[in-house]
Symmetry: C2
Subunit: 437 residues, 2 copies
């Protein structure tokens, strides 16, 4: 008989079907055995009464691959709305070892359980609630790419093996590359700006690397960065574009995965029609006024302020995502752009969502002479220095006004689902302590 | 005035428009200047007669960012079917340096010109024919993902930083990872098999790394691998799925990029309705019969045979892509599967397209005990060895029959367009000699 999926069972009510999958759970009550079979689409419940069939199940452990041929009966209380009965059981791959973790129960995500979670990742993900995190993540990727395609972007892939670190020095992984030293890319920054000169609009979704010594809930040494860059746009258009990306992702994942999101206790983010921007000094003022605390450093935003302003925006501005603007140009990157009318400020925004920054979203300085000057002033580097000369070529031969952003896939997944630690949103996380599985 | 794109000009015939982009070419004939402006959608031709406007163009080099406000006239001989006249020119970003390469002419792709091509990549790609390679590549990615989505796959991202090399030893990049040694992933092989136990069907498109000392037209040290793995399928279904992926990609890129493909002299690949398989020994026999040459090693396929059998299939079997099957199990990987009825052969196929192998497409051994034995026999490794134990967990707790493949994005792009060297299909290629830009 042709295999059907668990999600298709309802269409075969009162009929005979064949399904295949993993033994998910087995419960013996008197002479009757209740089975749960898991396939990629869901979980089916099967009632086994026939003695010969019950006998086949003896000793079988979770994970055993089975084929069930049985009759279908509507049963609203069962997981997929049906129950299978009068089955013929065929064991396809026998599993005799007990599962190292109980995958039919909610797994602990407490911080002291995470090591166990990751150690048995390939097994733990067989719990459908765990797998849902990555089905949602797959949808975030699909939705993001669709948004880029709709806006006429070209997808690109740029190398992660670089001749030298172009930004920060210490937090870079180094390796021997046929006798030379290569570094692992921290971002696609230079490449995406260079490619604005070719395609105007480019995106890239690829791993990037940070050799940070931090063991926090926010840091990983390898993560997936959703990078975009657009030419011939202004700062307002850039923020609207980034805001639109988040809205598009939220709509798509809620339309397609509402039940999985609900199983995690997630609520659908409230997002305003248009981008909401708040200048940094106003964030400080609001924070001081509402908390009574004094902001010591008025040239940066603290994590406490990030959390505060998101709560403030949710309560007062009808959005859980807000752009903090008017950052001081004193500590901007050499490729950022100063505001024309207030050069002490940069045309930069940080896009905050549910209490954390999910992307830095700035305009870039596009004029060759100005970039050369900022490069010398900020880094003391000449435009023909190795690691910079190919980048500077693009400016020398004409780049339009442009801006862009990088968005961490795992952090976005974390915030959409409401996970405590960003590593829970990585299939196989990498940090200072973990390099396997 | 609102900016429109060059591709939209035809809709504005006899009207007034504003376009923005790069000065692509400037030709002075008598008192008249002919301009070409490039934007992301195409190239527009502008006739400048007014003296004051001609004056603005003096000294401007290719790459200058300009805005042109002008009238539109149908002109079938012009690149985008229209000509702009009576323009007002506004220089947005002035470029004074001469372009290091002439981007309005076909660039040389001869082997001794490749270094120049890559050195000025960010400029050379401003030639629309060059950019077309990567617009086609972007479409290959989109088409591949759509095919996976249609077939119920989950997209995943697995780490490229690994604790140890799980396959081949010498061709691995190593790096210091917080005092430990990490290696860069050569493939997503282990992870995708582990995830069959969770999602049944997974794909991943990410960079992989090979520290190969070869400086050939076929090798890069970093490339994009399109990886897929499917559970609950048999060998025939696996080959049909892989064949279907290629067909889907070919249809999509030809539908959307026919003119660009034609500019490269590409012909649309002829592909049979269903997968065509030829056992290895038959390939040898056909090769010997048709060439008169003797095949020395009958346990492998030579590059000459790969080319031959593709030509043979194109002429006789109505397809430019063919699966070579019935490989000897003597040199199979430990995770490959022997044929049930002929254990001296493996359930493996190499998918050849236009003279080269584009993917190895085998079934995997899914039975825990057999994998343990093959692991010991082939590699002398115990199932709980570091680098293997998490992989073996998945088998121990039940994996169904499964198979999959990895497909190099650049090689596929190369063969579809008809490029000589795989590096021409990488935006910024990496090989033994090249680590920049």
């Amino acid at each position: 008989m042709k295999r059907i999926l668990v999600s298709e069972l309802l269409e075969f009510a009162d009929g005979q079907v064949s399904i295949k999958g993993w033994l998910h759970k087995k419960k013996i009550m008197g002479g009757i055995t209740f089975l749960q079979l898991r396939d990629r689409s869901g979980i089916a419940q099967i009632v086994v009464e026939e003695k010969a069939e019950v006998e086949k199940l003896r000793g079988l452990q979770t994970g055993t691959i089975i084929e069930i041929t049985a009759k279908v009966k509507i049963e609203e209380r069962a997981p997929s709305g049906v129950e299978l009965f009068d089955p013929t059981v065929q064991v396809l791959v026998r599993v005799d070892s007990e599962s190292p973790i109980e995958i039919d129960k909610d797994l602990s995500h407490k911080s002291d359980s995470l090591d166990t979670l990751f150690e048995y990742r390939a097994i733990g993900l067989r719990n459908p609630k765990e797998a849902a995190v990555f089905k949602i993540q797959s949808e975030i990727l699909k939705s993001s790419r669709n948004y880029f395609y709709q806006h006429d972007f070209v997808e690109m892939n740029t190398p992660k093996l670089l001749a030298e670190a172009t930004e920060g020095g210490a937090e870079v992984f180094k390796l021997d590359y046929f006798g030379k030293t290569a570094t692992l890319a921290q971002s696609a920054q230079f490449y995406k700006q260079m490619m604005v000169g070719v395609f105007e609009r480019v995106f890239e979704i690829n791993p990037v690397y940070r050799a940070e010594m931090s063991a926090t809930t926010r840091h990983m040494s390898e993560y997936i960065s959703i990078d975009a860059e657009m030419g011939f746009i202004d700062f307002t258009e850039l923020k609207e574009f980034a805001h639109g990306l988040l809205k598009n992702v939220v709509e798509d994942v809620w339309r397609k995965h509402e039940s999985e999101l609900t199983s995690w206790g997630a609520s659908k983010p409230v997002l305003s029609e248009n981008a909401v921007s708040i200048p940094m000094q106003k964030v400080h003022d609001l924070f001081e006024k509402h908390t009574g605390e004094v902001v010591e450093d008025r040239l940066d935003i603290t994590p406490a302020e990030e959390r505060f302003i998101c709560e403030y925006a949710a309560e007062n501005l009808g959005t859980e995502a807000v752009f903090v603007t008017e950052w001081p140009s004193s500590d901007m990157k050499f490729y950022h752009k100063k505001m024309e009318d207030k050069p002490e400020l940069a045309e930069r925004s940080d896009f905050l969502f549910r209490g954390v920054e999910i992307m830095t979203c700035p305009m870039r300085e596009h004029r060759y002479d100005v970039v050369v000057k900022q490069l010398k002033d900020k880094l003391g580097v000449e435009p023909d220095a190795p690691g910079f000369k190919h980048y500077m070529q693009a400016f020398k031969h004409g780049l339009p006004p442009h801006g862009g952003f990088g968005l961490g896939l795992e952090r976005l997944t974390q915030k959409i689902i409401g996970l405590q630690n960003v590593k829970e949103a990585a299939l196989f996380p990498r940090d200072i302590n973990r390099l396997a599985p």
